[in-house]
Symmetry: C2
Subunit: 304 residues, 2 copies
DNA sequence: TGGTTGGCATCGAATTTTTTGATGCTGTGC
DNA sequence: GCACAGCATCAAAAAATTCGATGCCAACCA
């Protein structure tokens, strides 16, 4: 009779039935309200009676009275269902209130060209966001998969089956010369290019710049006079020297201020894009940040 | 595919499955833990995926990763299930902390003889209880059924099918005389009793004292010289007069201080008891109060 | 006092949901 | 490239829920 039913097999619909019966003081009308048979309501209330070990509702004279315990349970049930509903509702993402952590992995290029604007906009629209920029160190994919970063911005090569990606724009390569360099004024052909003394930016990790890959594909090789891990300080290296550096065009706007910029004769380009994992694919914050970055780069995408 | 499942048909067991999968990072081991088939876990998680419109768990390389939304949901799910468990658990009633309202209906007799001790004990053990004593006005049953009172203490007559009851003790009737009254010293027989001038305590409502009912049953009638609604002030009415009052013995200890008390020749007694409704039958507070009152009257019950 | 009625309880049948066991599929590690 | 781990999926079985009909009880009415 008073067999102990595991409380866990109560569902929120049962609580809903309880609330309606309590509200309407009638099994029959609650059943109508819920669009089910009266005996289904009876069944549900009986189950709840066993779960709570309490009569919940008793008939007194004409009307149905709720026990004190029932009153209590109804109040809690309303709260629990409301909270669960809210939990189940598609999270109405509000940038203004998010206070989550968000980590972006990227490298020098993106830190100089993309990140500042992102940070500015993000901090403006989501002031409480705990934003962190980490160095991808040429291992962006790995860091994504380890959940060390929520989003990777960088030059994307192969399409990794584990990652989602979205391209932002393509960037051509240009060569940086000291303005006094003999080849600095004329258009540069491939033959001349190969004769120059090059500063090679390795970008640290396993990354190999697209123009290097392209040259290799053609069976050619660069005369590398100096290797540097990043374009930081590149300007002062090239200035006043015979060295030539090949870097993405957009980067030259930043680091090539007083240098001569000439189109690179190796016709290829690097694709800058976003990458993320399935874990974050549907996360509202991640989606929102992705969308924002994509929009911020709309101009660059159109070749600006 | 993304069909919208009503969140209300999620039960707490499903949330439990979610929590275990999250904990163990494995459908299979969660299934073992829960003692069900792996495909049942898969089924449940799939249902939750539809409810929450989120993958919840994604496989990445070797391991199962939880989405950010999932992390959030798990935290909430733990809280909700814990709260529901507590709600479903038989309420471990603690008098020290109850702060409910509790209303006792009774009449003059009980207010004088029983209530003071009850109030004292109740306030001692349940300091936050909001206790209210209301006058039954001879309509105690009615007030109970209307939930105006949680408990009725009084002389119980017929056994009302709607009410539960528990008897406390029985009280015989005694007669109060002015000490100077000629009949005050000797034992009183029925013949003399009927010749006396009586003060009849009506107790207000529909109540008829048991000795009156008994006399009636014998076809006898009292010479009523004065009717008063309650024993309040009875002492001063009887003192210095020829009038005789018949009241329950225990009451005479309070209101008959300077009067002569003689056993009433109508051999009957009134039963004082508790009455309550089904609504409160299983309510812990009500049960606790009932038990306490019963214990407090243990002495009286043994004829003290 | 007996008939009528409103409303919850209960029963067997029908329906729906959940579980099971078997099998498929995909990515990993050797 | 093969074997394995582990989730997905399928059909059948089991269990839970709902339905429609009916029972039953108390209240109300004449």
């Amino acid at each position: 009779m008073t067999k102990s039913i595991d409380p866990l097999e109560v569902d929120f619909r049962a609580l809903q039935v309880l609330v309606w019966v309590h509200q309407l003081r009638s099994f029959t009308r609650a059943a109508e309200e819920l669009g089910v048979n009266q005996s289904a309501v009876s069944y549900t209330i009986n189950k709840l009676r066993e779960v709570f070990r309490d009569p919940l509702f008793v008939r007194q004279a004409r009307s149905l009275h709720a026990t004190p315990r029932c009153e209590d349970i109804v109040i809690q049930a309303k709260r629990l269902t409301a909270e669960f509903r809210q939990l189940a509702a598609p999270p109405d993402f509000d940038p203004g209130t998010v206070s989550q952590k968000f980590t972006i992995a990227c490298n020098f290029y993106e830190r100089v060209l993309i990140i500042p604007e992102i940070v500015h906009t993000l901090k403006g629209e989501a002031p409480n966001l705990q934003l962190e920029i980490i160095d991808a160190s040429g291992r962006g994919h790995e860091r994504l998969l380890r959940n060390e970063a929520d989003l990777l911005i960088g030059p994307l090569e192969r399409s990794d089956p584990h990652l989602y990606r979205r391209d932002l724009y393509q960037d051509r390569y240009v060569c940086l010369f000291d303005p006094a360099h003999p080849k600095a004024s004329a258009p540069l052909d491939l033959e001349d290019y190969l004769k120059l003394d090059h500063v090679l930016v390795t970008y640290g990790g396993h990354w190999r710049s697209r123009y290097i890959v392209e040259l290799e594909r053609m069976g050619l090789e660069l005369k590398v006079a100096l290797k540097v891990p990043s374009p930081a300080g590149l300007e002062r290296i090239v200035a006043g020297s015979r060295l030539v550096a090949t870097i993405p065009e957009r980067l030259s706007k930043s680091v090539g201020a007083d240098l001569r910029v000439v189109t690179c004769p190796v016709h290829t380009s690097v694709t800058i894009g976003l990458a993320w994992t399935t874990v974050n694919h549907r996360a509202p914050l991640n989606m929102w940040v992705r969308e924002m970055i994509y929009r911020l780069n709309a101009r660059a995408r159109k070749g600006g």
